[in-house]
Structures are given as C-alpha cells and as structure tokens.
Symmetry: C2
C-alpha cells in the first residue's frame, strides 16, 4: 500500500511523523557509569536517607549541648561525658552537638571546652542531603556527569534510561565493510557507521546489521529481523530510482510506504514507511544525503521516542557568495563560518552530495526554507553551528591559492587553539575575498609585469589598504606527468588545467606564451581542477597525461616533475589584524622550525625566504 506517490514538503513529512508515530518510551537498564548524557525513563526515588543518622560536621568532640552552657575563652568548662569525633563520624546517641577541636583542650580524664554550642550545632542531621522517599530525578531528566556522585551516594548502581533501539541495514552489492580497502567500483559502507554514531550520541541503542547485497530475498529477511529486534528501522541506500533499488517495494510488501520522496536537498529520495507500527526509513546512499536525512528526518522520529533533538546554536552571519535555489525545496548548505572583525562570514561548501569532506570542513550549515529562492551574497542569515562556538570564534579563514603546505599550517595553528579553514579559490579569488573581508588571510602567487610577485595586484585591487605579506616559501612549479613530459611536449597530449584566476593557470599561460605554444593545441586545456593535488591525481589515474602543479604534489603521488618556474607564495593579511590571536598563531606557525623542516620533507620549496614579511603601501 503506497499512500503517497509524489514528493511532500519537509514540513508535511514532519507532520506525518508526528501523526503516524505517537509518543512512546522504550527504556533499558544501563550501569550508573554509562548513564551520563542519557535520559531517565522513570523518576528515581531515594531508597534511604543520606546521611541515615546524625554525623559530625567537624573534627571535634560530641557533647550534650547543655553541658557546654557558659563556656568561654576565659571560663572553659570541663566535660566528662564526650566522644572524640572526626568529620563524618556518627554522633553517638545522647549527644546533640559537636565542639570543634580547636575549642577543646584534652586533659587526662576530661575535656576543657572554651566555647558553648547550641543544640545540633556542627551536626549534619540525618536526611540533610536527601530524605528517604524523596524524588532524586524526574523522568526524562538528562543525566549530567557530575550527578553520578549523588546517584552513587544514594545507592544507585543502575539507571533505567530512555533508549529506543534503531536497526541499521546497509544494502548494496558494491559495499565493503569499513577497514577493507575498496577495489575499483566498491565503496566502503560508511553511512550506517555515521548514523550509528549520530543516533547513539542522542541516546538510541544502535544495531548495525551485516552488509546486505542487492538481493530482494536477503533484504526482505534482514528487514523482518530488524523490525523484530528494534523500535525503529533504517535501511541504508536502495532508496533512489536506480536499477537495483528494492527498498520501497519491500517496505510496501511487509507494511506500508507512507511517502517516497521529501522535497529536501540533499536527501530527496528518502522513504518514510511503517512495518508493524514501527517507523522504517529508507536512507539515500549519497553520504551528505544520508547526513541530512539522519538530521532532518530520523532525529525527529527519535524525538517521538522521548529523545529530543539537540539544542540548536544559531548565529547571524553574512554569506560570502550567492546561493541559488529552486523554490519548493528545503535546502541545507554546509558552511565554513568565521569571525572577521565584528561580523561572522559564512562560505558555502561544495554542494556535491558525495563529498564527505564538506561535512568535515564545515562548522555550520544553513537551512534555506522551501519558499526562499536562494540568497544573494552578503545577505545576513541565521546559521546553525555544527562545532563548538569557541571553535567557530577561533576559525582562521584562509582563502585563495592552494598549496599542500597549508595542511601543515592547519596542524600547527591548532596547537594554539586556532582552526585553519582553507578555501581554494585561486590567487585572484583570494585577492577578492580579502578585499571583501571574507577571509583573514589570502595565499597568492601572482606574477606582476614588474617581475615581482603579488605587489602590483594588491596595489591595484586593494589600493590604499595597509597590508602585510608573509612569505610561506619560494616554490617550484612544473609539469607533472607519469613519463617526464615537459612544457614543450604539451601540444597534443591530454592535459588537466587549473581553474581560471588561479596563479598556476596564469603562470602556465605566461609560460605558454613565452614558449610560443597556443592553448588550442593542448587537449583538455579547458578542464579545471582546483588544487595541485587534484591535478596530480588526474595524471596518476591516467585521466590526463600532464598538468601543472607544485613539486610537493607530484612527489606525494610518486609522479615525475619537470620544473618550469620558481615563484613567491605569500599569505596576505590586513595590518589591523596583526594582533588578532589567529593571525599571531599563523605567523608563529610559518616562522616555526617544525614548519620549515616539514617544507623540506615535502620538497620543492625554497625556505630561505620562509617567514619574510613585506608591507604595503
């Protein structure tokens, strides 16, 4: 039975979830030490009082308070009936107060007391902490780590927590389990690993089933088992419309497909179904589609089981580029957010649903509601953080020309609590990002007509601005190949180029002109890759015979390299930011001996100018 054949909106899907899956609680018992971060399923009551009897609150002597009446420094009172007690000791019966040890002199057969005490003074009464039968925690309480002290003291060793079971079934004959290196055409099954991690962090008990090939009979059996053993079932992949997608049919056969297709991007082919009253979700196979479906569809299902969605942390940020969008779809765009001066800026990541690194690189995302037709660059939007606020505040935005050494700078500044986020837009892209206050630092290598790097471009595009150029290194650019191809051999050979506006592309054009080679003679001149490594990789896989990149990228992939030119690779920052802790960390990292030795290991860098600064104007 298929109730919906067409795509519904996200808001309709959420209504559907609330309607079809009424609130219910599934609990299990966990040990006290496993309880932090989970929610109580039932209220917890004290089975005994703490303390159960009166205890001394001080080191001293337990006395009858009436025996101390009138005691003072000048007129100490002798006490014959008393008991030495330390903090926490039981106050013996018949005594009703404690005199602190510093107000007592011990004599042979009695004590001299120089301060009177009132009844029950310095005594912790029974039940002071908690009384028998009192409620310690209500149900649905989120257990905080420090509460384990109280819970242990009150005699609890196990806690009944809310913990619905989620079964995760990975389907697809192309899958290999994680830890196995995929052969060509195979893919590591990672989506249920991600789902288990995300959903168990919310309190669910996740069970991953073995990889299930694209065989309807096997999938059907696994789904039957999954429904029997869990409260919620997630079937990974098999939810788009390829030749081997059986999920929808099997759900319909065993239960009901409530909807196949929700107008969200990424994640549209999601299935919401029901078997034996239990929710069944068909999760699309593209990693970022799966990520979105876990967050926007499965998490709301989980909240019907008493595990609320994580608290959103929203901040206002200005978009660094335009995000186009068709109306009628809720879209989710991953972002890199950082703070420049007083304002946050947000740069959209690649929207490719297969690029998992976008999620790793992102520290926030933007939800574009259905009705919106995209946002213009510079629009102020509310973005949802995916990292700690502090790590967003410590983000160092580096936008421009790419170099493998930036990875090592990222590692070095992290020790100083700075998160370097690198966006590869090429040297010209970096220049414009710096101009528009969209980054803190712009790496570039733009050869001017005066023969100097960067200065003439900065004078032109950031006229009058006070800038500092920090040299990362001199570096060698050249032709990468499997067979030692040189610049003059390029005509007629399949080539992979860098994007327009990149310093490397501009350098290539300069050199081609110098050597009298026309671009039209180079097949693939129009194909653009956005990093040195992507160029080298295209050559390694045989997609191209040659490309232009820095030596370190060729070396990293074991390829041959014919040098073409030496250039100056600099990071440009605004002078006013020199005192910013992120910029300081960047300068320290570039100047550090460990960075220099790393450059030497990578190879192809001239480190004699590493750390040299120049100023403009």
């Amino acid at each position: 039975m298929t109730r919906y054949l067409t795509t519904i909106t996200l808001s309709e899907a959420l209504d559907l979830i609330r309607r079809e899956f009424p609130p219910s609680i599934v609990s299990r018992i966990v040990s006290l030490t496993d309880s932090p971060g989970r929610r109580t399923a039932v209220p917890i009551f004290a089975r005994y009082s703490v303390p159960e009897i009166h205890l001394s609150a001080m080191d001293g002597i337990a006395v009858r308070s009436r025996d101390t009446i009138g005691a003072s420094e000048q007129h100490p009172v002798a006490i014959f009936n008393a008991a030495r007690v330390n903090t926490g000791n039981v106050v013996p019966q018949d005594f009703d107060a404690v005199v602190m040890i510093e107000d007592v002199w011990e004599e042979d057969h009695h004590f001299l007391v120089r301060k009177s005490v009132s009844p029950w003074q310095h005594v912790r009464p029974a039940g002071e902490d908690i009384g028998e039968s009192e409620m310690i925690l209500p149900s649905r309480h989120l257990i905080r780590p420090f509460e384990l002290g109280a819970l242990a003291a009150y005699g609890l060793t196990e806690i009944e927590v809310i913990s619905p079971g989620i079964g995760l079934i990975p389907t697809g004959s192309e899958l290999v389990p994680h830890g196995v290196r995929p052969l060509p055409g195979q893919v590591v099954e990672s989506n249920t690993v991600m789902a288990a991690s995300m959903l168990s962090s919310l309190g669910a008990r996740c069970k991953r089933y073995p990889l299930t090939p694209d065989e309807p009979d096997i999938i059907r059996e696994t789904v039957r088992t999954g429904i029997r053993e869990n409260d919620i079932l997630v079937i990974s992949a098999g939810s788009s419309a390829g030749t081997k997608d059986y999920t929808s049919d099997i759900i319909a056969e065993l239960g009901e497909v409530l909807v196949h297709g929700v107008a969200i991007r990424p994640g549209k082919p999601v299935i919401i179904g029901k078997i034996e009253h239990k929710p069944v979700i068909g999760m699309p196979g593209y990693p970022l589609s799966a990520f979105t479906v876990i967050r926007e569809i499965i998490t709301p299902v989980l909240s019907q089981f008493g595990l609320p969605e994580p608290e959103p942390v929203l901040i206002r940020a200005h978009l660094t580029s335009t995000i186009p969008k068709d109306p009628g779809t809720d879209e989710f765009v991953l972002l890199t957010v950082g703070k420049i001066g007083d304002r946050y800026v947000a740069s959209p990541q690649s929207r490719g649903a297969g690029v998992q690194m976008s999620a790793v690189r992102a520290n926030a995302y933007l939800h574009l509601p259905s009705a919106i037709e995209g946002y213009e660059a510079e629009t102020e939007v509310m973005v949802q953080l995916m990292s700690l606020q502090s790590s967003v505040d410590d983000a160092l935005l580096v936008t421009g020309s790419h170099d493998p050494a930036l990875d090592y700078l990222a590692d070095l500044v992290q020790v100083r609590n700075v998160e370097l986020h690198s966006t590869h837009l090429g040297s010209m892209g970096g220049l414009l990002a710096l101009k528009r206050h969209h980054c803190h630092a712009a790496p570039m290598h733009l050869l001017g007509e005066d023969g100097d790097y960067n200065t003439s471009y900065l004078r032109k595009f950031l006229a009058g601005e006070e800038l500092v150029m920090l040299c990362v290194a001199g570096r060698q650019q050249g032709i990468v190949s499997r067979d030692g191809t040189g610049l003059d051999d390029l005509p007629g050979r399949p080539f992979i180029n860098r994007q327009r506006g990149s310093g490397t592309r501009m350098l290539l054009d300069h050199e081609l002109k110098k050597h009298g080679i026309r671009p039209e003679t180079i097949p693939g001149y129009e194909r653009e890759a956005i990093t040195h490594l992507a160029v080298a990789l295209a050559v390694k896989t045989g997609e191209a015979d040659a490309g232009m990149c820095v030596y370190s990228a060729a070396k990293a992939l074991g390829l041959r390299f014919v040098p073409v030119a030496d250039e100056r690779y600099e990071l440009v920052v605004r002078k006013e930011h020199l005192d910013d802790h992120r910029i300081k960390a960047l300068f320290e990292a570039v100047g550090s001996p460990s960075f220099r030795s790393r450059l030497e290991l990578l190879g192809g860098y001239d480190t004699t100018i590493t750390g040299v600064t120049r100023e403009l104007p």
Copy 2:
C-alpha cells in the same frame, strides 16, 4: 619537601599548574566508533583517494562525449559503444561522460541519446571527495559524530586520540563501594565515581583504584602503583586536617607537595603535588568540595595535557538573595536559574558542602572572585550554566511551601519539557518570592482570620495584582510520631518544628493557642526543619518524638499520624503568565488524572478540590 605551607589564591594555583606541568600530549588508540567527542593526537592523512577512480554520478550510460555531439530531442544520436552504469559504478576506461538514463532510449544493439554531454559530465572524478596524501583532520581536532562517515569511508578503523590516564584513589576506612548500603558511620565512595564521569567526559582515561583504608602503608603502595600506571593521580579525601589524613605526608615523602590549601570555597583543603614529574591532586572528601576541585583545579591540569576545559555558557541573571562572602577567597555558589518575563533570576542553593542534591538541583553556578565581598540581592551577575540553555529557559520556578506532591508535579511537567525547580521557603517565603518576581508559582496554605486560605495574605502583600490560585488539593496536617502522640500530648516531649514563616508553623501556633498549650512547654519547639519529610525523618531517627507534617510524609516513612486540621494547598501564579508554556504545563499536570491518582496513593489529600482555580482581585 613542602614548598608552600600557607594557602594560595586560585589564580596563583592556576599559575603554579601551568608552570609546574608544561604542556604534553599522551595518546592512545581507540576504535573509530569510540572516537567521537575525543581529540586527535596526530594529524590524519588520506591513504588513498576517494573515489579512487572515476565513478558515474548518475544512473545512465557511460559514453565517449564526442560521440554525443549534436544529440537533441529532435535529433537523437545512435551510440554503439556505451556501457550501462548506475550511480556509483566505475566509468569504464575510454569513456569520459555519462548520459542520464532519462535521456536514453535503449534499442536492440545500440542506444539512442537525446542530449549531448560535455567531457566528464555526470562523472565523479577520482579524488573528488579527498585525494591521497591530503590531511583529513589536523591534530587536536574534536571529532564530531557525523565525521565518522568520512573517516570510515577513508579507511580509518582506529584513531589515535589525546587521552591522558588519570588514576583515582579513594581513601578512607569509612568508605563502602557504591552499590553497598552503608552501615551507620559508613559512607558510599562516590567522589571518584563523579570524578571519573566528569574527567572521562573531557577525554581522559580514568582508572579507579580499590577503596584504600586509612593506613599509610597501604595508601603509599597504592600511590606508587597509581603514579606508575597513570599520567595524573588524584587521591580522594585525606586532604583536610583530621586525625587520619595521610595524603599530604605521603605525597611529600614520594615527591613534593607544591601547595596544601587553595583559597577556594568549597574545596579549600586541596593539595597540589608532584611525584616523578606527574601532577598529584589531593581532593577533599566533601562531595561539593570535590566537585569544585575537579572543575577548578583538576580540569586545568587536564588542559595542560591537551584536553581544553569545556566551553563556558554564561548568562546574565539577577540574584534572588544576598550572598555574603569574605574577601580573599574565590567562592562558587550553586544556583537555580530560571527566566521570569524578560529576565533571568538566580537563587542560591544550600552552601553545605555535603549536600549533593544541591548539585543535582542546580542548573548554574556563580563564581565570586577573590576580591568581591559578596553580592546584594537583585545584583545582576554573570552565571555559568551547568545544564542546556533550553532546559534553563524551560525552568519553572516554584518557591514557597513544601509538599511531597510537588515531586510528582515535577515528573509530570517534565514530559512537557518543563523543568520544575522547587525551593522550600515556606508559605510566607513563597508569597514574597512571588511579589519580587523571583518565582513563577508560589505554593502556600496561609489561614486568614476570615477562615479562608491564602486570599487575605495575597490581598495584603500583593495588593492590586492580578493573581490566579490553583488548588493542588485539600490536605490533612497532623502530629507525626512513632507512638501515636497527639497535639495535647506535646508538652514535655522532644519536638521538631518547621521554620518560621511556613504555613505549617503558623498552623501549629494557631492550634496550640486554641488548645491553650504554651510553646515553652514543648522542648525542641525552636528546632526548625524545612520540609515535611525532614520533620518525619527526625521523628523516625528518634531525634524527636513528634512534629507536625502532612499525612503523606508520615505515611512515606511508616510513622503514626494524628490529624489536627484540614487545609487548602494552592499554587499562586500571576494571571499574565497563564499563557506561558511552563504555567500551562503546570495547570495541565495538576488537572491530570495521573496526578489525582498519585495524590490518592500518597494519602491524606482531598482531591475533590484539586485543579479548582480562583482569581484575585
């Protein structure tokens, strides 16, 4: 060797920690699935590209793009050399593009294509996600749950994470392990349970050693083992100045006591020492002292090991009462914070260092710096949240007269995502808290001279305010005892009273007067407990022979009860708050059948008036 004999300030102690324990990283390998929430110890690089070869980005046919030139709806092109591919399949060598299946007609021996494709269209190039040798994560990166998808896909099964080892040694002959019910004078060892939970949530690997009695030889051996097996050692208790405190001597013997005593409250007797260059902390035995020392001293030690302190969440709040303090000490006061109208109000919890429930009840704390001499009531201060911001925003502050039924209301409103925080100040205290906008609802039972409950007091103290009174129940007050003592038997019998300003105290006085009993004839009339249960408990433990409380408290502890009067127990709220979701949840809870049946189980309540509302003026 004792370097400091006197107390130092917190700020000096933190300087000392940074000076004596230079930054260092200790790592261990954990499985990928255990890595979320932990920090990478080293940068992680991609060992292979993902994808390793070109994959189809669509379901369709792989083609040579040049074969499709000119294809259109009107003029489809026949392709003889092509391969059927699904999304994710390898694009076979010699092909450089994919035509989407919807643009293809399959014929007997060829395909008809009605759309041309450009080179590499609908192809995911090798390395699109990540390229071999690229850095996936820098060191010290906090792993987020969703990143496990990428890490699994990139072939990682284990992660080297920052994870210093902390040994936790509980000392004290009075201790029993948690799970064992303590005999009189015994205490459940809970402080290392709390420490392990808090410190492992920050990424440390915690090892709890067996309970160690107060025997110097045994403690010394355990400390030697602890130092050998860990990077940081925490010795619990034995750090104050009682008769059996050996910690300081043993640290001095095996290493060095850097400081014994830091001017913080609670937590002053803390020891900071060093054995074999490793930090050794003597943690005081009172639970809230231990809590403070873990947070303020041990956590900074941990941050020297690469695990930063948790991100503080600070909000502005107005204090509901004055907090006195001596200058020279940094004090930490646990708070209950809630939002009333537009402002947050913060009520200090009990400052008793043994009352662990204060931490359970608290959702924030206040740090009073050394130089401050306390704060006046109504001062606006910055408070540090200990709960989610949303749970603070959902806090329902109920201040006034206590009744055991409030626990059940707390449980019922929690289902509606409302956190009920009950503060026991008695009926008059509640009246004043409501007047001062320090609570949302004030429970009270104040018998006026007109014979009606509450109205005359509200008219007098909140004149002109629009109020709503919600009846929780009629309830029976009486004399609780072990032997059936009645009101007229009180003279000469040890008594436990309620605090001045409580409705129960006022009712007792009213009844004593009516019966012609003078308070001076009742021993213990001056002793005050602040809840019904505390009164019943004092009677149960034999501390008093009788007291006055509601029936349910007597019943909960299996005591006898002689009724004295019936009264009306009402919750008073401001009319303007009736639409607030917290107040709505409260009204719904009081009106619910499950609350009524709970009252009947508790006993002594007249539920015929439960849920009845009255309005003033």
